[in-house]
């Protein structure tokens, strides 16, 4: 007991638990440091680049100066050695008649690229393992309590293989989005944005010599447009470039397009889910606390928003907001996230309102009220902790739905503005070639969307069963569908 323990006579187990000089903790901290150090420049580049983009979105002269300054830092950080960079394991080289030049250790571009991808995923899983080990260490050795209710949730999730499958799929997808620039066999700039500004060397088999050409020119000759011209998955084009998923009708690399596209899907998805979770929780707490008329008016409001089909509302709002300054941020992705949050909170609100109403009936709420606590404190401290778990469930499912909707909108040519890659646009571009040799352009993005959405749904299922094993498995169905896209 803490009352009996004095500084002069410390409790033996307590001091052991709080000792941060423990060898196991040191090993864990060291591993973390190593993991961080090998990727530190990339992290700095990402954060600074993101800030620069965010600041540049504000149309003032100060913002431009600040953005320039940040871009300077970004340039400096790029030159530092990083484990998972294109420079350390390059895959863009050429065949000089005898061997590969410019690739990793003289290996073929395909093998070099595969090594880099393997390295990225090994790193990601090492990070995941490090995180899990840290949690385990904390739970077994440092936490004062032997057991908390959350332990049961975690343990139940561990025994849920379907949920774990979802977690792995989601983790693979997130890794893909985070390391997008490293994973692609080529860069976005070279691939589609500015391909005529880059030169490349290749082995001309007819002339039996190494020649130089523009990347854009090479792309133009590696198009996938039906049976006559096709560069399929897992194959090389005539310029010795490897295309894991083949090329697109423009001749750019599909894999690069997809990994970069995963980033925008994930960012819009996470942003919109976070915003709608915020909105849904606050409104659910308000309606559960005040009940009566407040609740009724919120029911009517959410019914009215739900009466407008989400996809149609998305189409309408993205047309109306397309030409405003807010519509230009992040290729229209930001306004898309806002629209998603504005239309999608209703589904989440409906599912959180039930649990919130149940909590509001409990005696501790009455007790807190008679104790004189303010409504906001009661909502935050005594109600919120009981509904956050449900947010995770619907958040996971809504994210899957958001990915489908974003893809559906860009299939229609709305939402994310070209040339920013988006999976739905790849499906649209390849639509005419599905029955031909260039089937990969539409098929692969669609299969990937299916897998990722299944993963998010499975994760949601797993979390639900972990949080509330008695709940019926029928909740949250509409959330994972993205308004019918």
């Amino acid at each position: 007991m803490s009352e009996t323990a004095t500084p002069e006579a410390p409790d033996a187990t307590g001091s052991e638990r709080s000792a941060l000089t423990d060898s196991r903790f040191l090993a864990w901290a060291l591993a973390g440091l190593v993991l961080f150090a090998v990727e530190a420049p990339a992290l700095v580049t990402f954060v600074v680049g993101f800030l620069a983009d965010a600041i540049a979105a504000f149309p003032t002269s100060y913002a431009a100066t600040a953005a320039d300054f940040l871009v300077g830092i970004e340039r400096a950080a790029i030159d530092l050695p990083t484990l998972l960079s294109r420079d350390l394991v390059p895959n863009q080289g050429y065949w000089n008649g005898e061997q590969w030049v410019g690739t990793f250790l003289g290996l073929s571009p395909a093998v070099s690229w595969a090594i880099r991808v393997a390295l990225v995923y090994a790193y990601a899983f090492a990070f995941l393992g490090w995180f899990a080990a840290g949690y385990e260490l904390y739970r077994r050795r440092y936490r004062t309590a032997d057991w908390t209710p959350r332990d049961d949730v975690v343990d139940r999730f561990r025994g849920h293989s379907w949920g774990k499958f979802g977690l792995v799929v989601v983790f693979l997808f997130v890794t893909m989005a985070v390391f997008a620039p490293t994973l692609g066999p080529t860069t976005v700039d070279q691939n589609m944005r500015d391909s005529y500004s880059y030169e490349m060397q290749y082995w001309n088999a007819d002339a039996q010599e190494v020649q130089t050409t523009l990347v854009g020119e090479a792309n133009r000759n590696s198009q996938s447009a039906g049976d006559s011209a096709n560069v399929g998955p897992l194959s090389y084009d005539d310029y010795g470039r490897y295309h894991p998923f083949g090329t697109m009708p423009t001749g750019s690399d599909l894999f690069t397009f997809i990994v970069v596209g995963s980033r925008i899907s994930l960012i819009i998805g996470v942003l919109s889910v976070a915003l709608s979770a915020l909105l849904a929780t606050s409104l659910a707490l308000v309606s559960a606390y005040y009940k009566g008329r407040v609740d009724l008016s919120l029911v009517l409001l959410s019914d009215a928003v739900m009466a407008m089909p989400q996809l149609l509302l998305l189409i309408m709002l993205s047309t109306v907001l397309a030409e405003t300054w807010i519509g230009g941020i992040y290729s229209g992705g930001f306004v898309l996230a806002l629209i998603f949050a504005g239309t999608g909170w209703t589904y989440m609100w409906r599912s959180v309102r039930g649990p919130a109403l149940q909590v509001s009936e409990r005696s501790w709420i009455d007790a807190a009220r008679s104790f004189g606590q303010t409504p906001t404190t009661i909502m935050r401290q005594h109600m919120l902790p009981y509904v956050t778990g449900y947010l995770l469930i619907y958040g996971s499912m809504t994210l899957g739905g958001a990915i489908i909707s974003i893809a559906g909108l860009s299939y229609l040519g709305l939402g994310v503005a070209p040339p920013t890659p988006e999976w739905g646009r790849a499906i649209n571009l390849g639509q005419d070639y599905v029955a031909t040799g260039s089937w990969h352009i539409s098929l692969i993005p669609g299969v990937l969307i299916t897998i990722v959405v299944t993963g998010f749904n499975a994760l949601g299922d797993g979390i639900r069963d972990a949080i509330d094993p008695q709940s019926d498995s029928a909740t949250g169905e509409a959330a994972g569908r993205g308004g019918g896209a």
């Binding site: 009466a307 407008m308 149609l312 109306v320 229609l412 669609g446 749904n457 169905e477 019918g484 896209a485």
Partner: protein, 340 residues
């Protein structure tokens, strides 16, 4: 009596929902960052002040906003939806909706039917034989089926059907049963009364209906399975069995009827998805229904038409909600007896 009261209450609740939805639509379109009048005019006309003023006047935008709002709402209530500006220029919106809506309704009808006829039996089957291989296959299939993007599924299905002869060992979908001139395009709604015409129109929308119903099919399967599993272990089923009720009667009278209750809200809530998804599916299959009309109006900038169509969509969804409540009172006798 209490059931009637319950239904009356639900009808009453719909009025503010429609009003709120229509008001939000008005606000987005007429108070948003885009000037609907300028959007309707071509480049040259925008610079012509006379043409611009004429457009503003016809839209009523030269009035104070409140007056415009009242007029617009009144026009919606009386279904005086005016005429189109860009799409099918100058035709009456009412006539356009009456022309396009039946195709979407026909598509929606079949997609609900396909989903119910495939999803529910599969789910009940999986539930009755839970934890068998067939159950796992069916459940897994339902989960993956749900996660597929509709528009992508539509493209893939279309390709499969177009080349059905090569993929399905000589089975040709296009000439199977009723001969179709093209796989995509609108169903011929004028000959629905004749058997031949009905079959042709049905065959035309069937692939689209399958795609549109895909999400609902997966959901219905899953919920059907859970419902059967739950009902199967209820005490009244055991009691019926102990009384010597035949297996057939137990399944049909005691299990299925009760398992249907959680399915009703699923089937009707799918209406949201059907109406929303109709835009993409109609675009891929080239069916010129109301969802397609909405999409064309939105991208061409005919915002007044977008607003009117949104009102129709709101009415449709609210109508489906009402239908759900009516069905509920039929299936579940407890509705309305316990307050809510």
């Amino acid at each position: 009596m209490s059931r009637l009261k319950y239904l009356a209450k639900r009808v009453l609740m719909m009025i503010p929902v429609v009003w709120l939805g229509a008001s939000m639509t008005w606000f987005i379109i007429f108070m948003g960052p885009i000037d609907p009048a300028a959007r309707l005019l071509s480049e040259g006309q925008t610079r012509n002040p006379a043409a611009y003023e004429r457009a503003q006047e016809q839209l009523g935008l030269n009035q104070p906003p409140l007056q415009h709002y009242m007029d617009w709402m009144w026009n919606l209530i009386t279904f005086d939806l005016g005429q189109t500006w860009l799409l099918y220029q100058g035709s009456s919106v009412n006539a356009l909706i009456l022309d396009f809506l039946p195709r979407t309704l026909f598509l929606g009808f079949w997609s609900v039917l396909v989903a119910v006829l495939v999803g529910v039996p599969l789910g009940f089957y999986a539930g009755m034989r839970s934890n068998t291989v067939m159950d796992y296959v069916a459940s897994m299939g339902g989960i993956v089926w749900r996660a597929m993007p509709n528009f992508w599924l539509a493209i893939m299905l279309l390709v499969l059907l177009q080349n059905s002869e090569a993929y399905f060992f000589g089975f040709n979908w296009q000439t199977f049963g009723v001969n179709l001139d093209a796989l995509t395009g609108a169903p011929d709604m004028s000959r629905l009364a004749s058997v031949d015409g009905f079959l042709a129109a049905t065959k035309k929308v069937l692939p689209a209906a399958l795609v549109l119903g895909s999400a609902s099919m997966g959901n219905e399967m899953r919920i059907g399975r859970t419902a059967v599993l739950e009902v199967k272990n209820q005490e009244y089923v055991d009691l019926a069995r102990a009384k010597g009720v035949s297996d057939r009667a137990i399944v049909w009278k005691h299990i299925f009827r009760n398992a249907l209750i959680p399915l009703v809200p699923v089937i009707t809530s799918e209406a949201f998805l059907l109406i929303g998804g109709s835009v993409l599916v109609e675009t891929v299959f080239g069916i010129n229904g109301i969802g397609w009309l909405f999409y064309r109006a939105a991208i061409q900038g005919d915002l007044p038409l977008v607003g009117s169509l949104m009102y129709i969509f709101i009415l449709m969804i609210v109508g489906v909600n009402l239908l759900q409540d009516v069905l509920y009172t039929f299936i579940d006798p407890r509705v309305g007896l316990e307050g809510n």
